[in-house]
Structure formats: structure tokens, C-alpha cells
């Protein structure tokens, strides 16, 4: 798994490539935390993520809490059907905006 962080003006994008499990989640968490510390408008791009375990859900929970605490917004991008099903089973889906493309996420976040 690889994580890259890029800034698009006031929006910070966290892009993940690869599987998120209990081996890789700490790296995802470190990067996601760094992103929430410098911006309160975050897009997490999961287009290249095929698999995410509960370790990844925990990171999303952390991001949601940090961002909510500073009245910000987080949008998830390109979430696979399998992962969306898991988010739905656990009720996580109700708390996140999910879009297909990164461009859409950036437009929405900038409007806010």
C-alpha cells in the first residue's frame, strides 16, 4: 500500500493505492492524521483500493472525528462496491459523502 498527500489550494487529497489491512493501516492512519492537521477539507481517494478491513474503517472513523471537531468536511472518492457494502453493513456509509471522481470531490469541498 502507498499513500500520497497532495494539496489543491485549501483541499488536501489523501490518495491510497493497495490494500488496507492491519499491516498497512498504521501508514494510512499516519498520513490521514497529518492531512487533518493541516486542512479541514479532505478528500480520501480510494479508487486504487481493492480491500479494506476494519483496521481501515477505524482510520476513517478517526478522520471523521477530527474533521467534525473542526467543522470541516471529508469526502471519499472511488469507493469500490465491496467496500461500500461493508460501510453500509456497519452504518459508516451514512456519515460520509462518496463520489466517483476526485474532481467532483474537490469542486464540492471548495464550494463549502
Amino acid at each position: 500500500m502507498k499513500v500520497t498527500i497532495t494539496d489543491h489550494e485549501e483541499v488536501t487529497v489523501v490518495e491510497v493505492t493497495g490494500d488496507i489491512d492491519s499491516k498497512t493501516a498504521p501508514e494510512f492512519e499516519r498520513n490521514a492524521r497529518a492531512a487533518t492537521e493541516k486542512s479541514h477539507k479532505i478528500a480520501i481517494d480510494l479508487t486504487e483500493v481493492e480491500f479494506m478491513s476494519s483496521a481501515g474503517l477505524r482510520v476513517l472513523l478517526m478522520v471523521y472525528r477530527n474533521i467534525k471537531g473542526q467543522n470541516g468536511k471529508v469526502i471519499l472518492v472511488g469507493v469500490s462496491e465491496d467496500i461500500q457494502d461493508v460501510m453500509s453493513t456497519t452504518g459508516f456509509i451514512n456519515f460520509f459523502t462518496i463520489v466517483e471522481k476526485l474532481d467532483e470531490a474537490i469542486v464540492i469541498l471548495k464550494q463549502d
Partner: protein
């Protein structure tokens, strides 16, 4: 039953999921149940590795036993860690899932996803070993 061993470390999770994917393919399991089984195995294997082995300072293997019959794919994870029954824990209930994310306790999610994702899940402890059993029904095509 077929048997394959993996070192009890988080680095094994990737190849473990890949192996489960191969078994699912041999069994003719559809895409969605395949993902659910991979997830269930990953969650239980994670518990074994992090708590059964790592936290206890133990180095041991996770053994995957499997069998494909006409109707089912059966996978059993066998480990030598301390006795731990995943079903012994209280699982998140509907009350939990109606809570907003800020109010939720973390934990129990992995086991919830495991039980929710497979057709049958059972646990047995015998001869000093934990046996977590997963059964997936193979849909007739």
C-alpha cells in the same frame, strides 16, 4: 483437508487473502461472497496474529485447512495462541449502529463483519488449539 501454513505475522495477511481468493475460485464462489470470506479470514487472522501471538510474545504459524465439497467451501484457521472464542465477546447490536460515529466505541467491528459475511461461523478449542471455522455455500449455477 488441504493444509497450508503462514507465519503468524501481519506481513502474511496479503498472501493469506490471495490464497483464500484461489480457494474461492476453485470452489466457484461468486465475487461478493469471495470478498466477504477474504474479509472474515483477514479479521480473524489479524486477531490471532496481534493478540494471540504478538502481544503474547509468541512466534507461531496460522494454519489454513480447507475443503471444497459440491455445496460448500469450508476453511478452518488453526492457531496455538491462548484460548480465544470470538463469539464470546458481545457484538455490536442495532443500538450501536444507530449511534453517530462520534459516540461509537472502537472494537468488535471485525468480528461483526466476520459473522455477518460468511454463511456459517463456528469456534472450537481442542488439543491446545483454536479452530475458527468458516463455511460458504456455493450457489448452484
Amino acid at each position: 483437508m488441504e493444509s497450508k501454513s503462514f507465519p503468524g505475522i501481519v506481513d502474511s495477511l496479503d498472501s493469506l487473502r490471495e490464497y483464500i481468493g484461489e480457494l474461492a475460485q476453485q470452489a466457484g464462489l461468486a465475487k461478493k461472497p469471495t470478498y466477504n470470506l477474504k474479509l472474515a479470514i483477514d479479521e480473524i487472522a489479524t486477531n490471532i496474529i496481534l493478540y494471540g501471538y504478538q502481544a503474547a510474545g509468541m512466534e507461531a504459524e496460522v494454519v489454513v485447512l480447507s475443503e471444497i465439497t459440491g455445496q460448500e467451501l469450508v476453511v478452518i484457521l488453526v492457531d496455538e495462541g491462548a484460548k480465544f472464542d470470538p463469539l464470546g465477546k458481545e457484538l455490536p447490536d442495532s443500538d450501536y449502529f444507530s449511534k453517530s460515529l462520534e459516540d461509537r466505541e472502537i472494537g468488535g467491528l471485525g468480528i461483526f463483519l466476520t459473522i455477518n459475511g460468511v454463511d456459517e461461523f463456528s469456534y472450537q478449542y481442542s488439543e491446545g488449539k483454536n479452530r475458527n471455522k468458516f463455511v460458504m455455500k456455493i450457489a448452484a449455477t
